[in-house]
């Protein structure tokens, strides 16, 4: 079906009140989460709801309409020496702020800084067409339910976000990357555990299935080389710092997930270090491309588009793991693997979307599958 277009909040409300199933889309980069053009659910294009509403660099917060491109926000923050510390994946030119929050996943440089930790306020239209607000514009706020954090990962299934407030952090003046030639996954996991607990705080800690570990640090330009050397020596076998050009290219590619093939889907699966070995054995058996990031707190999996996503869903469920499919052709249910939230999820989804406008043909977001 053709997409509906909304360039202001009233149009979003009107579209929702029409009472037929729809899902918000914006930048068009997380295609697996979009409605199938041939299906009964219509896309509500909110990319016209864009623009920064408020940014006070001294406050380290900003408010922007949900359809604002991440590139615009990156540039704005960079010009004041700030950034989004959760490093949302940049899966294409058009990626938007709302899309980043709706996906709710961090990029490779988001170690110890989840999306939810930086979303402080949200305005959204719920399934009844009501415009409501949660949170606020200050960095600390305990008033009312934490709807801003709830929206992190909601994939447009709990409401159409129209405006978001986020807190930001200073952007490190310089960065450095150290690669460790660890051999084998168990050794790689041990290296990660040691580095994550070590004295040099890292912003990224990646692991490939062969056990190689890549760590990144950021900070003052004057100290960065000494610190990188210290990090490199902190475990055995010692690592080697990458040349500056190679290091920025490496992470630029990593946040675009350039290693995921054009005929593959990017699937993000939360993990924990002690669960990685068993998961990796299964993924290896299927011959899948994969990487582990954020100190083995996430598995990034490339799943062939030609294979049914349900197979990966079963594989994950058997490991008690859940995942979100971000790219590739639309899926009726991009959340795969073990269901999250149970009855709590179903009840909240029922309150925010009683008629199932956003649930489309799939069961309510996060509900039992």
């Amino acid at each position: 079906m053709s997409a509906l277009l909304a360039t202001d909040v009233a149009a979003v409300q009107e579209a929702v009140r029409a009472g037929r199933p729809l899902l918000p889309v914006a930048g068009g980069t997380q295609t697996a989460t979009h409605p199938d053009p041939a299906g009964p659910v219509r896309a509500l294009d909110v990319s016209g709801l864009r623009g920064v509403v408020d940014y006070d660099p001294a406050e380290l917060t900003f408010t922007a309409r949900a359809g604002t491109p991440l590139a615009e926000i990156d540039a704005m923050l960079a010009s004041h020496g700030q950034h989004l510390p959760f490093d949302p994946p940049r899966l294409g030119e058009g990626a938007t702020l709302g899309g980043a929050v709706a996906a709710g996943v961090s990029g490779p440089n988001g170690f110890a800084a989840g999306v939810r930790d930086f979303v402080i306020g949200v305005r959204f239209v719920d399934g009844s067409g009501r415009l409501a607000m949660g949170g606020g514009k200050v960095v600390k706020n305990a008033a009312g339910f934490d709807l801003p954090k709830l929206m992190a990962g909601s994939l447009g299934r709990l409401g159409v976000m129209v405006e978001l407030s986020l807190k930001v952090f200073p952007r490190p003046a310089a960065t450095a990357t150290v690669r460790f030639p660890t051999a084998g996954l168990p050794a790689g996991l041990a290296a990660i555990a040691a580095l994550a607990r070590g004295p040099v705080p890292v912003s990224a800690l990646d692991l490939t299935p062969d056990g190689a570990v890549t760590a990144r640090i950021g900070g003052d330009a004057g100290l960065i080389e000494v610190r990188a050397e210290r990090l490199a020596r902190s475990i055995e076998p010692r690592g080697e710092p990458l040349a500056p050009a190679a290091e920025s290219a490496h992470w630029e590619e990593a946040r675009r997930f350039a290693w995921v093939g054009a005929d593959e889907r990017l699937v993000v699966v939360p993990a924990a270090p002690r669960r990685v070995l068993a998961l990796d054995a299964d993924l290896h058996r299927r011959g899948l491309h994969r990487r582990y990031g954020l100190a083995a707190n996430v598995a990034w999996i490339a799943w062939p588009q030609a294979e049914p996503a349900a197979e990966l869903s079963d594989l994950l469920a058997a490991q008690a793991a859940s995942g979100v499919v971000l790219t590739g052709p639309p899926l009726p249910e991009p959340l795969i693997g073990a269901a999250t939230g149970g009855a709590f999820a179903r009840r909240i989804a029922a309150a925010l979307d009683p008629a199932g406008i956003f649930a489309g043909s799939a069961p309510a977001a996060g509900g039992a599958r």
Partner: protein, 470 residues
Amino acid sequence: METADLFTELRSLGLGERLLTGDAQLAAFGSDALTAFHQRPLAVAVVESAAEVAAVVRLCHRRAVPFVARGSGTSLSGGSLPVGEGIVIALNRLDRVLSVDPDARTAVVEPGVINLAVSAAAAPHGLAYAPDPSSQSVCTIGGNLAFNSGGAHCLKHGMTSNHVLGLCVVLPDGEVVDLGGDSTEHVGPDWTAMFSGCEGLFGIAIEATLRLVPIPESVRTALAVFDSLERAGDAVAAIVGAGLVPVAMEIMDPLAIEAAEASVSPGYPRGGALLIVELEGEEEVVEGELAAVEGLLRDCGCAEMRTTADPDERALIWKGRKSAFSAVGWLSPDYIVQDGVVPRTRLGEALREIERLGAERGIRVANVFHAGDGNLHPLILFDGREAGAVERAEELAAEILALCVELGGSITGEHGVGVEKREYMKLMFSAADLALMEDVRAAVDPGRLANRGKMLTPPPPAASRSAAAA
């Protein structure tokens, strides 16, 4: 009669003597740290297992009896105030740290664990639990997560909900569900974060998976004296503006300093305002940042400065700061502590206005606050024995909250809404926002049994019907 039945049933769940019903037994549970409110509950169930929590909640649900979870009862907003026709579920005995995973830097704990006990269990692994409310030696993780509690060191590390990865919760009808997990990442809506900060309205957490952080290699604490609060506030803005992220930035005014000295003698330098700045991390990095901070403090007119890396001196500095609320008892028989937030660039303005409002009423206000994130804690001093004193203090408190919202902030940064600030939710949220929150609450808990009367104002019966029909 009915009450007797309820007691019999509760006892038969295995509570036996652990069901408290006598006046003397109940007296200790009638209030939390906001002692202006008091309510005798029907009974207190002192549970000893997660299964018992679920069984008691199921029984409450079946009999439509309201219940209030209680950790240590240190809520400053009446969050753990009992409901008269309901029971209190006391969770203090669920106080085990179930496991620590040093490689993943996580801990699994029961809800009645004392905040500091988590750090104690993590310390042998070189790890700590970051959120540090001043009440951390007595308050529980369950209370912390229900209120999304903060503390001085949340400036860098974030609040409680930033450190809760997974939960096992008993919903208000007794159904047990797992939310989140053991990863820092999650997919699907963040149900864990939604439960955190719910003030007990979504049920009772019976297990939590917490994130731990490495104990830093180096910590430096600077004490800086300014001739006015406003100058100290400007220094905070300058530090934030320079791209530095100290782990804590706290301000105390002369009254708060006087109180701290009277109670634990931290030996603070005296002046118009004291700013505590703490930096942590790698040795060389901290040294460089400290030099930068010292420069900024001087530029902002700092009159006297002292820095230390000595653990004992640092402990005393923080003991003074963290004792400030209770220490105010040395200055005044009664006080109300407020918890509003303002944008941090408007701190100076807010403080000036609070001073003016206090002076107008002839009420003394002590200020001690998390300056780095704009979270004020004005302590309004009064003597409850004087006629009208409580009312005057409450009026001032209301004006301060309105001021915070007007400046673009919040009515509470970390103490929660509870019963105390329920009426002020209207200042921040529209009727539609509040109706949506009520709908969410009613969907999770149609009988409104869990912590009834807190955070949200109960809708009039007619309104609730139409909301349900909408």
